[in-house]
Amino acid sequence: MRQFDRLRLEGVGRRFGAADALIGLDLSIERGEFIALLGPSGCGKSTALNCLAGLLPLTAGAIWQDDRRIDTLPPERRGFGMVFQNYALFPHLTVRDNIAFGLRMRRLPKDEVRRRTAAAIEMVRLDEHASKLPGQLSGGQQQRVAIARATVLEPSLVLMDEPLSNLDAKLRLEMRTEIRRLHQSLGLTTVYVTHDQEEALSMADRLVVMRAGRVQQIGTPEEVHTKPSTWHVADFMGYRNLLTLKADSVTGSQVTVPLAGTTLTGTAQGVVAAGDEVVAAVRPEDLKLGGEGLKGLVEVVEYQGREHAVEVVLDDGTRVHVRTEQRVDPGAQVALGVSPGRLLVYPS
């Protein structure tokens, strides 16, 4: 395996016909990093991965591996591994042969192929199904074959496109750990596409949040989670309550905004002046039932295991989402407070 120290994407872009799927992606990946690509459906995550893998020619930009420009190399000469979103399993090969494929391509000794293949099959828990063809597997089983096939090669860079989307929570947790373990023990570099914030937050060293083909924010999980750079990112990162309001007053980074009869204080993200139209963002779990300030009527309650998702209509008709462990009933009158420091105010 060709190891490298750094992979640099410079203004990488890809257009399909007249539509841009990816625009000016600048990203530098250090060896050993675990990068997660995050963003709404259709924002260009798979496109970015395909460009990196060499499966899609770029329409703009360049990719450098250390000092070597690699965007003109064919995929097989880049030595990256990839888990495809739709698996792309070889329909005529058994699970075992699918997984062994890459090893065979490397002309490794038969014994080693057998050993490593068996280990990979065990890792993804498919021992029983090793002799089946992909067409005879369940969706989740296929996905696991795809993961095993790409990681068994221990490539210098692994690209994974929503590798766990079809697995149940338990298995997903296990596979997550397994992938992290592989990443760490083999010193891989990983670029991981997921639609699951929790997955991204818990696995990645850095997150790349995208929207409509463009990067919105690059940062550590904590940064992205607590300080989304725009309200779009906030929206995507689970700030379900996005309220368009007018800033009352601004003191340093503290902004007060009026809402449903009271005023709330939030932290400005970006340049906000008094009188500006702003977007105030807060997560459902940062609205506390029984606080003081906001008043409203419970409209919908959804059971979500330990917690309940509650929709509350405030006195001025604004609808907010609240997450709580308390049990409330639709129709109840409730008061709401915002956890301190959890209200973010963005220029709109």
């Binding site: 399909f16 020619p57 770029l58 064919p74």
Partner: protein, 279 residues
């Protein structure tokens, strides 16, 4: 980026060279007939000593080719349509299902392709005459269907195997009955296959001398009967007039083929959007 599909690897050079070589010689083969068919006299020279269209006129008049060609078109069109209609569903079953007796059925469908018409042509014609079909277009069509239907079955089977059965399931879940599944889902996906087998059947039918001759009546002769006659019948005819007949035969087929290719593209990739786009 430069186009990867025709990037010049040594193998690519070799293959394209072979293709060019094939075309050059093919052009020679076809061209020599074409030139000869317009030639007045062609002895030991590069090109004929004079040019004329007389051979075409002669052949046209001698065989009443207008009628012959229209019969040929009609008959082959019918054979193609019917054999696809009858053959494609059978191919579907053979591709999708394992049922008891499948091998026997398969063998029965294989035999008409394997057996030369000598073995069954005369009794077949007798049957068709008995029931009043032979001597007409209908007889010619029925007789030609005998090898054509199995041809469609054999060519279509692998195409159908390639189609993911889940696509069909999805259509059924949306209320499509078998007919609709065939017309709306399978047919468009199988266009390359249908085209290939239709062309095969067309070529065979237009070129099928034996069964056509045995079952044709005076007004249902096809072009190939005239062509074979001009080529191998007793008597003297100018080389050029045979060439002219052959050119007309080819021209007719060519028109059919080009028409077919205009409407459907043999390389039509259903997965074409997954192809590398051109740069």
């Amino acid at each position: 980026m430069s186009n990867r599909s025709i990037r010049a690897t040594p193998t690519a050079w070799f293959i394209w060279a072979a293709v060019v070589f094939f075309f050059v010689n093919l052009a020679g083969v076809v061209g020599s007939v074409l030139v000869s068919s317009f030639g007045q006299k062609w002895f030991d020279t590069w090109v004929p000593s004079g040019f004329t269209t007389q051979w075409y006129g002669d052949a046209w008049r001698e065989f009443g080719l207008l009628q012959v060609i229209s019969v040929t078109l009609l008959a082959s069109g019918l054979v193609v349509a019917l054999s696809v209609l009858v053959g494609a569903p059978a191919a579907y079953v053979l591709a999708r299902q394992n049922f008891p007796g499948k091998r026997l059925v398969y063998l029965t469908f294989l035999l008409p392709i394997l057996m030369p018409p000598i073995t069954y042509g005369i009794p077949l014609a007798t049957v068709l005459y008995k029931f009043g079909f032979a001597g007409h277009l209908s007889g010619v069509v029925l007789a030609n269907l005998v090898p054509s239907v199995p041809f469609v079955i054999l060519t279509m089977t692998p195409f159908i195997e390639q189609v993911d059965p889940r696509i069909e399931s999805a259509a059924r879940m949306l209320g499509a009955n078998t007919r609709a599944v065939f017309l709306k889902i399978l047919a468009p996906l199988l266009v390359p296959g249908l085209l290939a087998s239709a062309i095969l059947v067309l070529v065979r039918t237009v070129g099928m001398f034996e069964l056509t001759f045995l079952t044709a009546g005076p007004d249902s002769q096809t072009l190939v009967v005239a062509l074979y006659y001009s080529m191998s019948a007793a008597g003297i005819r100018a080389q050029q007039s045979v060439d002219a007949m052959a050119v007309m035969y080819t021209a007719m087929m060519l028109v059919l083929l080009v028409v077919a290719l205009r409407f459907v593209n043999p390389t039509q990739l259903v997965a074409r959007v997954k192809e590398e786009p051109p740069e």
